[in-house]
């Protein structure tokens, strides 16, 4: 009983702002507003970039998490702290950092520009990069936890059966940690979807190319709060649908 009261309080705290959105929504004009093609455009952009960023975070983050969980070397805790840096960095600072490194005048971006003629800022790719930057720590930390919870003796069993490290990783370690990896991916996706500061700094704001939903909401709020509310509701609805569709079984690992 003593746990229920704080839990209920927490739930209320989270629910109140969301209820506020529903209450203030311009239900009368909702239909017309949703027909606006720019809404669909920025929604599609948000979903595509967030999903791409999540995949990128997994491709790089899962091996990184494996290194943290399964190997030991001097400086490992420093590496882990370093990876979680984007978590404590204000997103705008992250955006500036991305500029200074990957921008047209950035130390790495300059090289890319000279060699390939590609500049990264203000492109959709820049949106994905900014989102990956903020989402990857979530993925790495979640996956590391999942890997640590998986019995490493299975890895040993696989080794005695002749499996190479790569085969063990793909056929044993990853399948057994899948619920944790899935949970990390969901966390990363949600973070990427909501990313604002780094995106507006590094990728800028251009409808169809870099104007994700959060950016659109922010700008709409300046002149047309009702539009902002509608956009927020759309984002909310999409997020809830995706999260609810992920079956609890996959995320909690019950049944493995």
């Amino acid at each position: 009983m003593r746990l229920l009261a704080p839990a209920a309080l927490g739930l209320a705290f989270l629910a109140l702002p969301l209820i506020g959105l529903l209450v203030r929504a311009p239900w009368a004009t909702l239909g017309d507003r949703l027909q606006d093609p720019s809404v669909v455009q920025s929604l599609r952009l948000s979903l595509v970039t967030a999903s791409t960023a999540t995949i990128a975070s997994l491709l790089v983050g899962v091996p990184l998490a494996w290194v943290l969980a399964r190997t030991s070397f001097l400086g490992r805790s420093f590496l882990r702290a370093f990876i979680t840096l984007p978590l404590v960095l204000p997103p705008v600072v992250g955006g500036v950092a991305l500029f200074l490194s990957l921008g047209r005048e950035g130390y790495a971006g300059k090289v890319i520009d000279d060699w390939f003629g590609i500049t990264l800022p203000f492109t959709t790719a820049a949106v994905v990069l900014a989102q990956t930057f903020v989402a990857m720590p979530f993925v790495v930390i979640s996956v590391e936890g999942a890997l640590r919870a998986t019995d490493s003796r299975y890895d040993e069993a696989a080794a005695t059966l002749g499996a190479s490290r790569w085969r063990t990783f793909t056929r044993v370690t990853v399948p057994l940690s899948l619920p944790g990896i899935a949970a990390g991916a969901v966390l990363g996706w949600a973070r990427a979807l909501g990313e604002f500061g780094a995106t507006i700094m590094f990728a800028g704001n251009f409808p169809g190319k870099t104007q994700t939903m959060p950016l659109k909401v922010f700008l709409a709020l300046q002149t047309d709060p009702d539009a902002a509310i509608v956009l927020s509701l759309v984002l909310l609805a999409v997020s809830i649908t995706v999260l609810a569709a992920l079956r609890e079984r996959w995320l909690t690992g019950a049944g493995v």
Binding site: E156, A158, T160, L161, V172, L176, V256
Partner: protein, 350 residues
């Protein structure tokens, strides 16, 4: 292909320094109390634990030799390992578990699964091939584990307490089956166990470990008849005493005399069966008998006898008939004389 391993692993408590040899077709059992280093030795031979010194030779070729910087990783050693708690991959069916080793070595999927199914039939659970490990009983799972280890025809089979996690019934059944497999197995098998029956039934050679070193080596009959450690003595159900012999009298370190019927001298072991211990409430007469003053600390039925633990001049285990208990009105805490005929005592060099 024979095994020649000298395993040296440095540990904070004590170092492990063990030599294990086996010819093709042999089964070597590693016996010893918990923490003696048996599992570490097994893991070292498998390649899961690096050795600090010594070397491991498979068929005369070094798979590990720190002095030469040679270390073949576990995945490249031709070994099969059966773990105590089977460690079957939870996300794969029994068939896919068994096929895993074949697939890892490049066998095509169809072929591997067919071979796996055949092996599962061989261990008697062909109809459970599609089940996941969580839907198998302990005995069934361990059978799958054995099949999984044997399917790749390894040169060396390592078993780490394979029957320990099973209930008594499954243990007995599986022990007989394992005996068949081991007899048919052409390579060297090394078995870690703390069960005397495992050792006696399955092994050709026993290697007894204690605190990281070998304290006794021999056939099961030799070792159980003349144990050189408390652990084995208890395991095979004998009373064991160590002392210095002078003629027929063996004197223990605490000054207690044990009289036997054999002449010997020097550092010796003296052993006798629990059933050779008779009890009396009065000091018996006659020089052909040993009589030690003890107190009963434990008393429990044991088959059709009663087993007592006695502590005093010597610490003993005695098996007596229930009638003896009642006629002497014995109970825990009672002082009692433990009497053993000299002829019942076996003496052999330490």
């Amino acid at each position: 292909m024979n095994l020649d391993a000298h395993v040296v692993v440095r540990r904070p408590g004590f170092d492990i320094n063990v030599e294990i040899q086996g010819q093709a077709g042999d089964t070597v059992a590693l016996l010893g109390p918990n923490g003696a280093g048996k599992t570490t030795c097994l893991r070292a031979v498998a390649g899961l634990q690096p050795i600090d010194a010594g070397r491991v030779l498979f068929g005369g070729i070094a798979v590990e030799d720190p002095s030469q910087h040679i270390r073949v990783p576990a995945s490249l050693r031709d070994v099969g390992l059966v773990f105590q708690d089977h460690l079957l991959f939870p996300h794969l069916s029994a068939r896919d578990n068994v096929a895993f080793g074949l697939r890892s070595r490049g066998t095509r999927k169809q072929q591997a699964r067919a071979t796996a199914t055949a092996w599962l039939q061989r261990v008697g659970i062909g109809d459970l091939a599609d089940r996941k490990p969580r839907n198998l009983s302990g005995g069934q799972a361990q059978r799958v584990a054995i099949a999984r280890a044997l399917v790749t025809n390894p040169s060396l089979l390592l078993l780490d307490e394979p029957l320990a996690a099973l209930d008594a019934g499954a243990k007995m059944t599986l022990r007989s089956e394992l005996r068949r497999h081991l007899e048919a197995f052409p390579g060297v098998a090394v078995l870690v166990t703390h069960d005397a029956l495992d050792a006696l039934m399955l092994a050709d050679t026993l290697v007894v470990l204690d605190e990281g070193v070998v304290v006794q080596r021999g056939t099961p009959e030799q070792v159980s008849a003349h144990p050189r450690s408390d652990h084995v003595a208890r395991l095979v159900g004998l009373n064991l005493v160590r002392g210095t012999a002078n003629g027929t009298v063996v004197t223990t370190g605490s000054g207690v005399d044990v009289v036997s019927a054999t002449d010997s001298s020097g550092d010796v072991f003296a052993s006798f069966r629990p059933s050779a211990v008779a009890l009396d409430t009065h000091r018996p007469t006659g020089s052909q008998r040993n009589a030690w003053r003890t107190r009963i600390t434990e008393l429990a039925p044991y088959g059709d006898v009663v087993r007592l633990h006695l502590e005093g001049e010597l610490d003993l285990v005695a098996d007596v008939t229930p009638q003896a208990i009642t006629s002497l009105a014995l109970d825990i805490g009672d002082p009692v004389w433990a009497v053993v005929k000299a002829t019942e005592i076996s003496v052999y060099p330490a």
